[in-house]
Subunit: 322 residues, 2 copies
């Protein structure tokens, strides 16, 4: 692929993106020039997706375009930021127009939904890799962080957990899922929905937040480590989808919910005095809201069934599905 | 390489970077939270360096660390921005501690010199690739852009041009350079100096600017295209180093100066009424300042020798060296 083809790709991208009034200069100069609102902090996150590691090399390019932006928007959601701009570094083995057209459909459709302008790009030849940096705004004192959870805070989560991990396990042949559940689960793996609205509404209400990328247990562990606290979770209350419940027995479903990565749901903690307000807001959300446990002073993560008997998480990943 | 090793690398980076007061939250949460000064625009640029494409796989890692940040700082210089933050996406085939230590020496030494804090990182396994995004500040109305060159403006350039391209041609065996000149030329290829100070001083004085990454002729072409103008260059006046002049005959030296990439010098245009001020400032620079031509209304790039006879650029790259 000649240099000019890469230049064409960048021009192609520049023409497809929406235009925001806070972009003084977009793609095409040495730098983009951007206006951050006074009194807001700039939230910056980046994530890289590599073919063969983070997605299958033959994955639907539209899904790859969607997901590569979605995982970054999910990080903005986790700090309560309002999305604004993105940059894209794309390594391509060759200039495959069909793949690029699909990728762009996925990327720019999601970008438009959240008002995100692509303000910079770099295209190189190499093994298929997508690296995206997303930028958003949040008033500094309202930003959701990982280190604010306190004993007594209730642990909440959006949506359902474990679906994406189950779809991935099925793709690897480690579990068989009935055909009727495949489209839903595949969609959960390939088209995660960034919980931007929820992150914005939780500003000033949640004491800590994170998005679930490595699995609920591990990501809650990050909050606990940074907050110097522990937690107790109710195994029965973990929000599992009907598809997950239909595919796995009770024990395996809990393991999937706790260890399945790639969910991109928001996991957050709420002090008691703000719980009523969060519940009122959550009643209007377009996704489930579930309270799954409580922050405790003693470090460590403990699980129990509703009847008080302890649940022991014995494996990580999909050992249980084998 | 286990995930934990990647996590260790990120921690390693987080501990090595300097701390800026405008970073509310650095590496370790879902997003970095950054404070952009009121009344300044945020300048954002990104560049990717891939082993085997942008540098030799066995290149000195310290030089790779330096250059991968330097090329991004050079883009900030080209818009007149003051460097502030960087993010780093590093794909590594394996966790090679010796390589990483060298890379970090080069990266963090340059970062410290320009007051740049690393605020985000992503480390994945893959073919050696370094993707850096740099962020800086510039008052929007003072930003140097590519589209402001006007007929009559004088074309200036910092430093010397063609050195990096000559070193690269030598590395490919297309030209032989005497041993005495090798260290200087190698340094020019591996350790470009971002012209940050010059970019800052040219704010409000230069009518257009770009950094030379693809070669002087091609990068001047970008200014001309965006400004809707042409230019005339004096072949004799192109700033060539003593090393370049010693290695190549006059004709080949001019070709090298016009087409050699990777120089990362600033190329800019100055309206007549601001020329005296630029010359006064440039007298204090730690690099050469040379006026090499003039912007003209007729599109196209024309070259001539001092005696008025036209110089014809007949090749690109290093055809002439063969």
């Amino acid at each position: 692929m000649a240099i000019s083809e890469f230049a064409l790709i960048q021009r192609y991208f520049a023409e497809r993106t929406l235009q925001r009034p806070d972009v003084a200069l977009g793609i095409g100069d040495d730098c983009a020039l951007l206006r951050v609102p006074v009194d807001q902090a700039l939230a910056v996150t980046l994530d890289t997706l590599t073919a063969g590691v983070h997605f299958f090399p033959d994955a639907d390019p539209e899904g790859v375009g969607h997901k590569s932006l979605a995982v970054n928007l999910s990080d903005l959601a986790a700090v309560g930021a309002e999305p604004a701009w993105a940059t894209l570094t794309l390594a391509l083995p060759e200039a495959d127009e069909v793949w690029l057209a699909g990728f762009c459909r996925g990327f720019f459709t999601l970008a438009a939904r959240f008002g995100v302008q692509l303000v910079g790009g770099d295209t190189t030849r190499g093994p298929l890799t997508i690296s995206i940096q997303a930028h958003g705004f949040v008033p500094e004192r309202l930003a959701l962080r990982r280190d604010g959870a306190r004993p007594g805070d209730i642990i909440g989560v959006t949506g359902a957990v474990g679906d994406a991990g189950l779809a991935l396990a099925a793709a690897y042949g480690r579990v068989t899922i009935p055909a009727v559940h495949r489209p839903y689960l595949q969609d959960r793996l390939e088209r995660p929905e960034p919980r931007i609205r929820q992150g914005l509404e939780l500003r000033g209400l949640a004491s800590a937040a994170i998005d679930i990328s490595d699995g609920l247990a591990q990501d809650l562990g990050h909050i606990l480590e940074r907050s110097g606290a522990g937690a107790r979770l109710s195994a029965d209350r973990l929000p599992c989808s009907a598809a997950l419940a239909a595919c796995l027995d009770r024990e395996a479903a809990v393991t999937a919910a706790l260890t399945g990565g790639d969910d991109y749901e928001l996991l957050f903690t709420v002090p008691d005095q703000r719980l009523a307000q969060v519940r009122r807001l959550a009643a209007d959300w377009d996704c489930r809201y579930t309270e799954i446990g409580v922050i405790e002073p003693v470090p460590g993560l403990r699980y129990q069934w509703e009847d008080g008997t302890p649940y022991r998480l014995t494996g990580h990943g999909y050992d249980h599905f084998a």
